[in-house]
């Protein structure tokens, strides 16, 4: 999308960030009473709430896998989360995001421990500002840890992109709308494996490598924030009275 907006000028972006700077992130663990695991996350203007239920027997019966648990991530945007009200209910975009998120999570959850079961991950976007799928997956990972689901790693997601010819980390709203490329990824931080990767726009091979490196670095920084939030919540218990 073309526009007259100058997204990148004098080394600074519209919101004043540097090329490799993340938006502000805040994570709260265990915020819901009924859900077995939950997480509330703010990332820039994004507000995401995730609830995990399970493992529990998968229904209907025919969806059960006799060897392992199935992971059902459901990404949904609230009607009031965007500028133009979104009609309630899953649209094709939500279903695609749900699918790639489920696949990313399936890779690191130790699903063989729970044959015939389902792990339901409900990702609700309460307010959206570019990068909701990364915010959703990052929050989902924390909610899964909170629920006590056995995992090989705590996955984390982050996006990089290109604006006005410059490769930058963590696209904001205007950058996502008017930029030249968007590359969201998710990794398993311990091993560096890439669990989710999507790209749209235009990148040379060189630019892609730069963007990938930047996104991976962003993921590692966000991973520290996840871990800190998890530890802070339970550190109190460990110390005891």
């Amino acid at each position: 999308m073309k526009s007259d907006i100058k997204l990148f000028e004098n080394g600074k972006r519209l919101d004043g960030r540097k090329t490799d700077e993340l938006r502000k992130i805040k994570i709260e663990v265990g915020v819901l009473h009924r859900a077995e695991g939950s997480c509330y996350l703010e990332w820039g203007g994004n507000k995401v709430l995730v609830a995990v239920y399970g493992p529990r027997e998968a229904v209907p019966r025919h969806t059960q896998n006799p060897l392992r648990a199935i992971v059902n991530a459901r990404y949904n945007m609230a009607a009031f989360s965007v500028d133009d009200r979104k009609r309630p209910g899953p649209d094709r975009r939500s279903r695609e995001i749900s699918k790639v998120t489920s696949e990313a999570l399936e890779h690191i959850i130790l699903t063989e421990k729970y044959p015939r079961a389902a792990i339901d991950v409900n990702i609700e976007v309460l307010e959206a500002e570019a990068g909701t799928r990364c915010a959703g997956l990052t929050a989902a990972a924390v909610a899964l840890v909170d629920a006590g689901i056995p995992m090989k790693d705590i996955p984390v997601a982050c996006a990089a992109g290109k604006i006005d010819g410059q490769v930058v980390l963590d696209l904001g709203k205007e950058e996502d709308n008017f930029g030249e490329a968007d590359l969201p990824i998710a990794i398993a931080p311990r091993t560096g494996e890439v669990l989710l990767l999507q790209m749209d726009g235009h990148l040379t091979n060189d630019e892609f490598n730069k963007a990938l490196d930047l996104a991976i670095k962003g993921c590692k920084d966000v991973s520290e924030i996840q871990k800190k939030a998890i530890m802070e919540k339970y550190e109190k218990e460990a110390g005891g009275k």
Partner: protein, 226 residues
Amino acid sequence: MNKEKREIVIPSQFLGEIEKNKAGRGTFVENGKIYSELLGVLSKNNEYINVVPLKGKYDPIEKDFVIGIVIEAMSSSWLVDINAAYPALLHVNEVPWNVDFGETEKYLNTGDSVMAKVSQVDQEKKLQITLKDRNLYKIKGGHLIKVEPSKVPRIIGKKASMISLLKKYTKCRIFVGQNGRIWIDGDEEGVKKVIDTIRTIEKESLSYGLTNRIEELLKKDAKDVH
């Protein structure tokens, strides 16, 4: 070593090499290294490295005593919720009564509670429980409360020390299911004391000297002790 260090670990955290240690519960092994798969408390036992989860569903083990709530009465069995990822099956052959085909509802119905034993956990995690053992039966009256299954060992205590204290100072009957369900029966005051004490144990489960503190607390309010 007297004092175990109560360290909290998270999934993917490195815990030790397989050469010097054994991988216990709550861990997985990759390339000769042991990692935690859960958010939990690190616990070393002989050479075993274990992680005890802070939260989670009950993981059924054969021979465990559990408290179940009947979900549905079927023609020759009952489906019972035991706070695990799967419901458990209780077959008519596994109860102390003579139940005719289709008469299951007469003995146990939706919402009834039972003290049972886990008799089988197969490869597909299909669970079976039985009522055929001493002290297993349909529960009547009393109170049922729920705690995190991982806290049950603390509530029972080393050699049942904690649970004995509770019974002694409150004069209540208490049955602790490994699946995190606890049945309490006694006078109103006693039951309240048991519940309050269990909630305290839950909150402070990771701290040291808990058994002594609880004993002090219970002693304070007790009127007569045998």
